[in-house]
């Protein structure tokens, strides 16, 4: 069965430019959130999100449905994120372990937001940022983007049991970091 988004991509391939605009609108928030938490730099995440769409756009003539559309798109995003982290590491652009999570935060936070929730959110962002890249990617793809284990395996080039193991280790690290937070 061909999913809705793959259907749109086929329509775009056949010349319907509006189908691409729909995919752009539909996937911008998802890709941006995923990439921002992967590379821990909001502006860079915007560039990478655009990189993904440029690739999708240019790949249209050769596009064939081999997997879910989201698997393909997040596969591109995952690879771009890992390449970017390698590049940043070589150039020492960003600290290996980020101390500053403000880059990701809303500059105008809701004043009613409960302090406890915000503290938990901040601690969680910080703990996420410290995770090894592949654990972080697997966890974000599952818990933020709703991809299934098999899909995540295809995105990352891992087996389902490999994905399970990445998720297990990621969650253990997060929970032990968050234990430090007072209730």
């Amino acid at each position: 069965m061909i999913d809705d988004d793959a259907q749109l991509m086929l329509a775009f391939k056949a010349g319907d430019r509006r189908a691409f605009e729909t995919l752009f609108e539909r996937y911008t928030p998802r890709l941006l959130n995923f990439l921002a938490r992967m590379v821990r730099d909001r502006e860079r995440a915007e560039e990478l999100t655009q990189d993904v769409f440029v690739r999708v756009y240019n790949a249209a003539p050769r596009y064939e449905v081999r997997a879910k559309f989201s698997t393909w798109v997040f596969g591109i995003a995952h690879n771009l994120a890992l390449n970017d982290l390698d590049r940043a590491y070589r150039k020492r652009e960003r600290p290996l372990l980020p101390g500053d999570q403000r880059a990701l935060r809303d500059p105008n936070p809701d004043p009613d937001e409960r302090i406890a929730a915000r503290q938990l959110g901040e601690a969680l962002e910080a703990a996420l940022a410290k995770l090894p890249e592949r654990q972080r990617s697997a966890l974000l793809l599952r818990s933020e983007q709703g991809l299934g284990y098999q899909q995540i395996g295809q995105v990352m080039g891992a087996s389902v049991s490999g994905v399970k193991s990445l998720l297990h280790r990621a969650r253990e690290s997060l929970l032990s970091e968050l234990k430090e937070i007072p209730e």
């Binding site: 430019r17 509006r18 691409f20 605009e21 752009f24 911008t28 928030p29 941006l32 959130n33 921002a36 938490r37 909001r42 995440a45 915007e46 999100t49 655009q50 769409f53 440029v54 756009y57 240019n58 249209a60 003539p61 990701l104 935060r105 809303d106 929730a117 938990l120 959110g121 969680l124 962002e125 966890l139 599952r142 818990s143 933020e144 299934g148 284990y149 399970k164 998720l167 297990h168 969650r171 997060l174 929970l175 968050l178």
Partner: protein, 157 residues
């Protein structure tokens, strides 16, 4: 240390909706009688909820505009919004090119000739009003216009 309960490995897949029906039923029966797994699954469930409620990262206000402009520069094909603008703006640019302000303030009647339409029988009127609209218009439009100008410098209108 006692051996870990054999169901432990299934708690996260359970929360992630990855268990098949038989495994799910077996785990749910087990959770009723195993305190350790019940506590662990609550811990993991709380984490799932916290992950699900992370704030959304919003794109900058000009994100889409920057993307379409970039696509016009980098893509192999001509994107739709640019194609649309090109249709609107071609006669206008010709008018500006021909006679500057005078040509623009006068209403200009143009016959368009495009490769896709070798036998044009339609016309477009461009007047000062639409030029002013463009001037007041957003930067995005002007940016795309500039890109079109570059492209068109190498081809006949």
């Amino acid at each position: 240390m006692t051996a870990r309960c054999s169901y432990r490995e299934e708690l996260i897949p359970y929360l992630d909706l990855e268990l098949d029906p038989n495994a799910r039923r077996a785990l749910e029966s087990h959770l009723v009688e195993c305190e350790g797994c019940s506590e662990e699954i609550e811990r993991q469930r709380a984490l799932s909820e916290a992950l699900a409620s992370l704030p959304q990262v919003e794109p900058a206000a000009d994100f889409a505009a920057r993307f379409w402009a970039r696509l016009a520069r980098e893509s192999d094909m001509e994107p739709r919004p640019v194609a649309r603008l090109r249709e609107w703006l071609s006669p206008l640019r010709l008018a500006i090119g021909l006679g500057g302000a005078a040509a623009v303030t006068a209403a200009v009647l143009l016959l368009m000739r495009t490769p896709a339409d070798p036998d044009p029988d339609w016309s477009i009127v461009v007047d000062a009003e639409s030029y002013e609209l463009l001037e007041e218009g957003d930067l995005e439009l002007l940016e795309v216009l500039e890109i079109l100008e570059e492209w068109d410098s190498s081809e006949d209108i």
